[in-house]
Symmetry: C2
Subunit: 210 residues, 2 copies
């Protein structure tokens, strides 16, 4: 393979990657706005600016398209989690990940967890790259939770499962959507309320400023 050919191939691959990233961006927005069941392939194609047939040249089904989008989102979440300073306490790292996710959710870039009632759930768990990322994130956050329970920063008498699912669910909490629709609060305030009610409940006091 000559350098020229290699360059041309690489350029084509870059173009392909760029186009597919644009598609996944659109899917991400539509998934956040309407959810999997209400999102149509026509809308995706229109949002990207290509035809539906071209879309199917890149992704062979609606399920695979959504799975690719969710997988990329989990990779971004893992990247953000790994980027957190090591000197932060596990509790602060968990809070930081949650704040990041809720902020993305309010920006329309974080779809809600595929609920038990959606068609996509079964397809996702059978999609290896997605399941692998879920496992990685669960392992990472699960370790932080155990550490935070050891120091008493999180309730030691609460099953780790309950804490993990609670953090996952609060990261795309419908409460933030309702508060945003109300229009009485800024996005930062909403993120603060969701974080506070998740960690301290609605009976607890706000954390003292560090």
């Amino acid at each position: 393979m000559t350098p020229a050919t290699a360059k041309k191939l690489s350029f084509k691959q870059q173009q392909l990657r760029f186009r597919e990233d644009a598609i996944l961006d659109a899917v991400n927005r539509l998934l956040s706005r309407k959810g999997f069941d209400l999102m149509t392939m026509d809308e995706v194609a229109a949002e990207v600016g290509i035809s539906k047939a071209s879309l199917y040249k890149h992704f062979e089904s609606k399920e695979e398209l959504a799975a690719a989008s969710m997988t990329r989102l989990l990779e971004q979440t893992l990247d953000h989690a790994h980027s957190l300073a090591a000197e932060l306490s596990p509790l602060k790292r968990l809070k930081a990940v949650m704040r990041w996710a809720v902020t993305a959710h309010l920006d329309g870039a974080m779809p809600s967890l595929p609920s038990t009632r959606s068609n996509i759930q079964h397809a996702l768990i059978g999609y290896a790259p997605y399941a692998e990322r879920v496992g990685q994130l669960t392992e990472l956050l699960g370790g932080w939770i155990l550490q935070a329970q050891d120091t008493g920063d999180l309730s030691p008498d609460l099953p780790g499962e309950v804490i993990l699912y609670t953090i996952y669910a609060r990261s795309c909490d419908p409460v933030s959507d309702f508060l945003k629709t109300g229009g009485a609060f800024t996005d930062d305030e909403i993120v603060g309320y969701v974080e506070r009610t998740c960690f301290n409940g609605i009976t607890g006091s706000p954390d003292p400023v560090a």
Copy 2:
């Protein structure tokens, strides 16, 4: 109108009411299991055991059917809330309503809140009987929340809006579905965890047994 005629009419009306209650029961189950968008009128008819055309003799559209089901559910919620002993503190009444709702949710009788991403939301708010019940429940629970904030049982520095939406959302929390799917906990344990994390957060201690 003769007594005989009145009796016959009443009987027919009872039959009608009974049939429509059976329809709403089926809608309630399907709404809990699949949500509005994935529920089909064919399924509803099949679950009740009548034909789709007959179904349309009772309710003139899918939206009205869902609205009637949700309205009845809100009435049942209001009935339960009003039945609570007056000597209970506002906080305990709020917790009781939430436990009741989560229990119903785990039994497949409490559909999730119509999310912002569903087609049904706009139809519901334009459906007067539904909107009226939502207003009544919000007024009732909102009053309890204010009282609980006055006594310090709920955080006084949290907007009532945030507390109300949080209680609403936690009443059909997906966390309970995930925990139930896991199979490691009984329904009572799950209800307890959801209540505790809602009111005390994941950092707080369990409430001492009264």
